[in-house]
Amino acid sequence: MNYKVNFTNEKEKRAMKDVFGATVAKMGEDPKFVYLDADLMSSIGTKKWADAHPTQAYNVGVSEANLAGMAAGLASSGLKPLAHTFGPFASRRCYDQVYLSIGYTKNDVIMIGSDAGVTAAYNGGTHMPFEDMALYRAIPHATVIDVTDSAMLENVLPKLLDMKGLKYVRLGRKEVLGVYEAGADFEVGKAALVKDGSDVAIIACGIMVAEALKAAAVLEAEGIKALVLDMFTVKPIDAEAVIAAAKKTGAIVTAENHNVIGGLGSAVADVLVKNTPVPMEMVGVQDEFGQVGPQDFLQNFYGLTSEVIVEKVKAVIARK
C-alpha cells in the first residue's frame, strides 16, 4: 500500500464511468480478459472499447441471470471474466446464479454493480441497491469492495483479475469527491488509514469516506480527534485494523451508503463483539427502501452525511 490522501472536498474531474471504461480497456490487454455486460455498456463507459473488441466483449442483453452464469462458464474454461450491470441487477436479480455457478463452484469472476446505493438517484427505489453488499457478504469466501474514488478504482480493479474466487465491486457512475492522489496503491483486504486520531474511529467505505473526512474536520475544530479508516474491502474485513482502531480510540462509528443490516456496520460490529467490545454507532440506511430524487436529497433523507456522522461521533463518545 502506498497512497497519499488529498481531500479538498471537490468533485473529481473524471466521472467514475469514464475511469471504469479506461480501466477495462487496460485490463483488455490481457488476452484472457473477457467483458460481459447486460445492455448497460453505454451507461458505464465501455461501449466504445467493447465495439472495437468484439471477441473480448459481449453484450448479453437484458439478461442478468444469463450474464452471471456465462461468466462462471467462461471462468471454468480458463478465461478471466468481468461482468457488469447496475447493482440491484448484479445482486438480487441473479443471486442464485452468482451464489451457485460462481461462488459454490469456485469460479474466478469479477462482478460489478454500478449505481451503488443513493447514487442510483433518479432511477429511483427499484434501482437503488441498499442490500447488495449484504447479499454478497453472505456468499462464502466472496470479496466485497465499495470503491472510494477514481484513484482507487483504477488501482484496485486490475488487481482483482488474478485473484481467486468471486469478487463483487460496487461503484457510482458520476464524479465523486476525490480522496486520494492519482497513482495511489492499495491492498485488497487491508483498510487504508486516511486520517489519524485518538478520540474516536470513523470506519467508512465508498462515498462515505469523503463524508467521514468532512466530519473529522468539523470535529477537529471542536477539539475531537477522529481517526478515519477507509474500509473499502468490506469482506474479508480487516479485523486487525478494526481492533487496533477500537483499542486506540475506544469508540467506533461506521458509515456506509447501504442498509446498516448486513453491510459495513454489521461486519465491524461482528469483529468488535468478538474481540474488543467498545461503544459503536452506525451511519447508514436504517432498514428502508430507496426512492427517487437527486443524490444530495437522498443523502440527507437517509442520513448519509457528515452532519449525521458528527452527531453519532458525539453520541458514541458520550457512551465511552
Binding site: N59, G61, N123, T126
Partner: protein
C-alpha cells in the same frame, strides 16, 4: 373503425404526448424514446378499451394494466392525470423529492398504477398473477401487459409465456413495443429477436403484428384479440422509438436523453398544432 372514435383516440394520443413532453421539459431529462413509442397503445387502452374508475382506482372489477417496461411511467402518468386519477399539476413533479411520480411505475406511489415495475421482465409474471387472480375470483376483466423488445431478453418473460400459454389465459392481452432499440443500441445487433410473434405462437399464444403507432390498428387488434378465445394474446407493435417527436425519432441513441428547452418547445409547438388540427 368508427371515424368518430378514431378521431377521438388520435386526438387523445396527441394530448398524451403533449403532457408527457411537458413532464420531461420540467425535469430536463428522462426515458423519452420508449415513453413516446408506446403512447398510442396506452392512449387507446385508456380512452376506448379499459374499464376503470378514477375515483376508485382500486376497484376490484377494473381492467388491470402492467407496464413492465416501467421506465415508460411518464406516459402513463399523463394519461392517469388526464383521466382524473390525480391533479394535473402532479405532472410537474416527475422525479423530484417526495413526488408521487417516480421514473419507474410504483403501485404504492401513484393512484391508477396497478403494479410496481422497473426491473425488466418482472411485469410479465405479475400480470399473469393479476389475471389469474381475477379468474380465480370470478371477476370478468382483462389484464393488459406492456413489454419492451429489449425486455424480451429476460428469461422471466419466457417463463411467464409458458405458463400463460399452458393455462390458455385469454384474458391476458400483451403488447410488445417493438421499437427495434434497447439501451445500448439496436435490438437486432445485441440479441436478434427474429420473429417475436412466432416465438409467442410457439408458446401457445394468439399473435398479431401491427403498426403500433397507428391508434386505429391498435384498437382493432384489441377487438380481434378479445374475439379469439382460448389463448393469451401478444400484439407485436411495430413502432418508432421516440414516435411523434421528430428530433427524438432522429436521434441514434434516444433511450435516456437530456431534454433541452429548445427540443421540448419545438416538440410542443408541433404537437399542439397537430392537436388543434385533430380537434378540428
Amino acid at each position: 373503425m368508427d371515424p368518430k372514435l378514431s378521431k377521438q383516440i388520435k386526438t387523445f394520443a396527441t394530448q398524451v404526448r403533449i403532457e408527457t413532453m411537458k413532464e420531461f421539459k420540467v425535469r430536463g431529462f428522462g426515458h423519452v424514446g420508449g415513453a413516446l413509442s408506446i403512447a398510442d397503445t396506452l392512449a387507446v387502452l385508456y380512452e376506448a378499451v379499459m374499464k376503470y374508475d378514477p375515483k376508485n382506482p382500486n376497484w376490484e372489477g377494473r381492467d388491470k394494466l402492467v407496464c413492465s417496461k416501467g421506465h415508460a411511467g411518464p406516459t402513463l402518468y399523463s394519461i392517469l392525470a388526464l383521466k382524473g386519477f390525480f391533479p394535473m399539476d402532479w405532472l410537474n413533479t416527475l422525479n423530484i423529492p417526495g413526488t408521487h411520480l417516480p421514473s419507474h411505475c410504483d403501485k404504492n406511489q401513484t393512484p391508477g398504477i396497478d403494479m410496481t415495475t422497473g426491473s425488466l421482465g418482472q411485469g410479465v409474471s405479475t400480470s399473469i398473477g393479476l389475471c389469474l387472480g381475477d379468474t380465480i375470483q370470478g371477476r370478468d376483466c382483462y389484464t393488459y401487459l406492456i413489454v419492451g423488445d429489449g425486455e424480451l431478453n429476460e428469461g422471466q418473460v419466457w417463463e411467464g409465456a409458458q405458463f400463460a400459454g399452458h393455462h390458455k389465459m385469454d384474458h391476458l392481452i400483451a403488447f410488445c413495443d417493438y421499437n427495434k432499440k434497447q439501451l445500448d443500441g439496436y435490438t437486432a445487433d445485441i440479441l436478434d429477436q427474429r420473429d417475436i410473434g412466432a416465438k409467442f405462437a410457439a408458446f401457445g399464444w394468439d399473435t398479431q403484428d401491427i403498426n403500433g403507432n397507428d391508434a386505429d390498428a391498435v384498437y382493432e387488434a384489441i377487438i380481434k384479440a378479445k374475439a379469439t378465445p382460448g389463448k393469451p394474446h401478444m400484439i407485436v407493435l411495430n413502432t418508432i422509438k421516440g414516435a411523434g417527436v421528430k428530433a427524438v425519432e432522429e436521434m441514434s441513441a434516444n433511450h435516456h436523453i437530456v431534454v433541452s428547452a429548445e427540443l421540448a418547445d419545438q416538440a410542443l409547438a408541433d404537437l399542439e398544432k397537430l392537436w388543434a388540427e385533430q380537434k378540428g
